[in-house]
Amino acid sequence: MPSTNLRAIVASEHPHKRHLLTDVIEREPGVVVVGQAGNALKAKSLARSLRPDVVVVDSCLPYNVGLDTVRLSRISGLDTAMDISQELPKSIVMLLPNTDIMVYQENGLYGNTKAYLYTQTAAAAIPIRVRELYYGKTPAASLVFANVKIGEQVSLRQRVIEICERATLYSGLATLGGLVLIITFVLAGAGAFLAVGGFAGLLLSLAGRAIAAYWPKRHNIGQESQVSETMKLKGAQ
């Protein structure tokens, strides 16, 4: 994977939402936010001039000015995302439909709360690694429908999955090592002990991973870090 930084721009009407999105994106090493826009016109102008690798757009984006009591003045997010996706076919454009992060900001939970980007599929919510998304095996031009989640429950589940994955690897190695020792006849006893212990550890770690994978979706993210991108709009047409 190339070592140069990926350049991103974020577009959202609200400054604190832009700050949060910047924080979320820059948390990943090698990704830098180079511009912020408060409306569709500015977002498109920034995209043309900065040619970013990644663009994150809030679906509730005004075209120019958002009118307080007029909901229809803030619906330009999808159009902006599609326009930029067409003008910059090598960029990844993420459209964020949810406004949950606004609620968290208003409740004062933004300060030290971890947040992450994810894509929601029928099976699970899959976390987004921006660099994987950009360099992955996807069509060059892709519009990704993403979301932002905030909550410590996610990190617990992620930790459990990571621990189980490591345990699976080491248990598998122990089992194999034990079997090899048994074959040598010299350390058959130790080998049997290692093989049985490793096999038991393997079963436990796989069970733990399976349980973690099926925890309630609303609190947790998916099993893998692999990203699924969609361009269903183009496909359906």
Binding site: N64, D79, P97
Partner: protein, 159 residues
């Protein structure tokens, strides 16, 4: 009972009786769509009226090909939970005038358009309630669209 209660939460059905809601429930199907999925396309035959249970749907209009500086499609509305879209099923020539795109995972209740029209013709109470509520929605969206149009004209005039 659960289906009826769910329908009653939608403003177009909130004044209907249990019997009327039973009639609507019998022609309603739940559906789920993933983010990015197109529920229906502009100019396609209008077969169903949709109630958004959960999620967000953008309604887009195709621009003529002679407008290259603008995007090919423009979003003219975004509907969220407890809102209705696809009411072209009630207006001749029963052709959708917009494209409906899911902005996130969306659950809807789809009401069969032909059966709803038949129901409205036989049950005038349902017809009156449904159409009078839809007229309110249309009026509200027209009003908001005017505000947006005027606002953008003012901004353009100042540039």
């Amino acid at each position: 009972m659960a289906a009826k209660q769910m329908l009653r939460e939608y403003y177009i059905f909130e004044h209907l009786s249990d019997t009327d809601l039973d009639s609507i429930t019998s022609i309603t199907q739940p559906r789920e769509y993933e983010a990015g999925a197109i529920i229906f396309s502009e100019k396609s035959s209008a077969g169903e009226l949709y109630l958004v249970e959960k999620g967000k749907v953008a309604l887009q209009m195709q621009l003529p090909a002679s407008q290259p500086p603008l995007s090919k499609k423009v979003t003219v509305d975004v509907v969220t939970s407890r809102e209705v879209f696809g009411w072209s099923v009630l207006v001749t020539p029963y052709v959708y005038t917009l494209t409906a795109v899911c902005l996130e995972s969306t659950k809807v209740l789809a009401i069969d358009g032909a059966k709803l029209r038949a129901l409205i013709q036989t049950n005038h109470r349902i017809g009156y309630e449904v159409l009078s509520q839809i007229i309110k929605v249309v009026a509200s969206r027209l009003d908001e669209t005017r505000h947006v149009l005027v606002s953008e004209r003012l901004v353009s005039a100042q540039d």
